[in-house]
């Protein structure tokens, strides 16, 4: 649709947006000031993605958009028409964990667990990117995910274990 006619015809600010989340297509009317994170948490009630700082500093909101890890708090939902979003709920469920999730359990890679979904989505995205080779690389590549409990050694161990196994973390 032409940009100028779009503007003239608009009676409200809401924009028709179709987003696939964890395999399900959602056709929604979204106000442009809604973040992808708030859409996921409040509208779709997928609260696995966490709101920490809401400013792109903590990484708790990390999700995979078309397979790429991003901070969903800094994404406007309307900018993701046609996108394929994977959240922590899409990686695996409580009774059917993905390898990365299982590795976090096995290595006790959390305490309170609030940063954990973001850590796991970020780690899955990192393995997919394929730039991390060493433990130091893992620390550098995951520096956008802050853990206030300080579970970093176990997080690195969990990710390193999966990296060594050659798996990508998803099923």
């Amino acid at each position: 649709m032409d940009l100028l006619t779009t503007t003239a015809q608009k009676s409200s600010f809401a924009v028709k947006t179709a987003i696939t989340v964890n395999g399900s297509l959602h056709e929604l009317e979204i106000e442009p000031w809604t973040s992808l994170l708030d859409l996921l948490r409040e509208r779709l009630q997928l609260t696995g993605s966490k709101k920490g700082c809401d400013h792109g500093q903590c990484g708790a909101c990390t999700v995979l958009v078309d397979g790429v890890r991003v901070n969903s708090c800094l994404c406007l939902a309307v900018m993701h028409d046609g996108a394929d979003v994977t959240t922590i709920e899409g990686l695996g469920s409580e009774t059917n964990l993905s390898p990365m999730q299982q590795s976090f359990v096995d290595h006790d890679a959390y305490q309170c667990g609030y940063c954990t979904p973001g850590q796991i989505c970020s780690a899955v995205g990192m393995l997919h990117e394929g730039h991390a080779k060493t433990e130091d690389d893992i620390r550098e590549q995951l520096s956008g995910n802050v853990c206030r409990c300080g579970a970093y050694p176990n997080i690195v161990a969990a990710v390193k274990h999966l990296m060594a196994s050659g798996q990508e973390g998803t099923r």
């Binding site: 649709m1 032409d2 940009l3 100028l4 779009t6 503007t7 608009k10 600010f13 924009v15 106000e31 442009p32 000031w33 973040s35 809401d54 400013h55 792109g56 990484g59 990390t62 790429v68 890890r69 991003v70 901070n71 800094l74 994404c75 406007l76 309307v78 900018m79 970020s122 995205g125 990192m126 990117e129 730039h131 620390r139 550098e140 590549q141 995951l142 520096s143 956008g144 995910n145």
Partner: protein
């Protein structure tokens, strides 16, 4: 965040037309800085024009031997692109020294150029700031200024440009291609960002409605001898206190080409090509040369209290980056 209209730009022309009729509208690429500033009510656009449907996502070799980076190529895609990492390792390293993986995955090349200062007074709408609200004053000069400028400051503003990527682009001598209702322009990188002067609210020479379409790199990429040294409060995911991008071409120990730019010291990446010509070109690549050069480059620097330490840190960082570039080359 205020309410705003959201539209897609389906072409550069319609985008320019829309902008001409909307003085308070803004373009959005990755949005990693703009959306954040909107959440703080620092940016209050009445409309956002999403550029993401434009085909500005290519990294391509140019007939002149340079490389063109489309404005919508993400910071990650630039840093890891085989052409960039092989021919412009300085740019790859600078990008990877900045932000987090998630932010680099979202942030675009054009947007990186247009990100705004992280001065705390700029972000806090409860306090005066000449950059945010012209004429209200600048409390930073007597206040929290640890991260702020030591060069090119004005009475009105001592903000720093926060980008790492731009420091490398300045050292490389890139060119910014823009387009708007008045046609296309090529802006040399040194002229893209401006010093604050008495109009600190204006960061760049880009006009309202103009879009960055690409950043063009020259043929010489300093692939043999370059270094990006970034000094910061923590090892990763922190803005530079001081950063130096240094690129050299050497023949028999003598410097034949040079590009040196500093981040974290001014309202724009700090480079002085004339000094490079006078004090680096034709000189031996050794510490004496670096020392004479840094003294001239940093002449006139002054601190504002908390950031006085930069007056000592900047010279040693310049010397270290040049030394590293000369001796360690691409492995630095």
């Amino acid at each position: 965040m205020n309410n705003f209209e959201y539209v897609h730009a389906d072409g550069l022309e319609s985008a320019a037309t829309f902008m001409a009729g909307h003085a308070e509208a803004k373009f959005i690429g990755g949005g990693t800085n703009l959306v954040d500033l909107m959440k703080y009510n620092v940016e209050k656009p009445t409309a956002l024009v999403d550029l993401n449907r434009l085909s500005l996502r290519e990294v391509e070799e140019m007939p002149d031997g340079g490389v063109r980076i489309g404005a919508l190529v993400t910071n990650s895609d630039v840093a890891y692109h085989s052409l960039i990492s092989a021919r412009y390792p300085l740019l790859s390293r600078a990008i990877l020294a900045g932000a987090s993986a998630q932010l680099r995955n979202k942030a675009t090349t054009g947007g990186n150029l247009l990100q705004r200062t992280r001065c705390v007074y700029f972000y806090d709408t409860a306090v005066p700031c000449n950059k945010r609200e012209p004429g209200t004053g600048c409390p930073a000069k007597e206040g929290v200024n640890r991260s702020l400028a030591i060069l090119g400051t004005s009475v009105a503003c001592i903000a720093t440009h926060p980008s790492d990527m731009c420091v490398a682009l300045a050292a490389l001598g890139a060119t910014v291609q823009v387009t708007g209702s008045k046609g296309d322009r090529s802006i040399p990188f040194a002229e893209f960002h401006r010093l604050p002067g008495d109009q600190p609210e204006i960061d760049t020479t880009l006009q309202h409605g103009e879009v960055v379409t690409s950043v063009d790199l020259p043929a010489i990429g300093f692939a043999g001898h370059s270094a990006y040294v970034k000094v910061r409060d923590r090892q990763s995911y922190a803005f530079a206190l001081i950063s130096v991008a240094a690129g050299l071409e050497l023949t028999d120990g003598l410097i034949t080409q040079a590009g040196v730019a500093l981040g974290g010291v001014a309202h724009k990446p700090w480079r002085n090509a004339q000094l490079e010509q006078e004090l680096l070109i034709g000189k031996p690549a050794n510490r004496d040369t670096w020392h004479i050069f840094q003294q001239a480059l940093l002449a006139g620097a002054h601190g504002f209290g908390e950031n006085d330490f930069k007056l000592k840190l900047a010279p040693v960082t310049v010397v270290r980056a040049l030394e590293q570039a000369a001796h360690e080359g691409a492995q630095a």
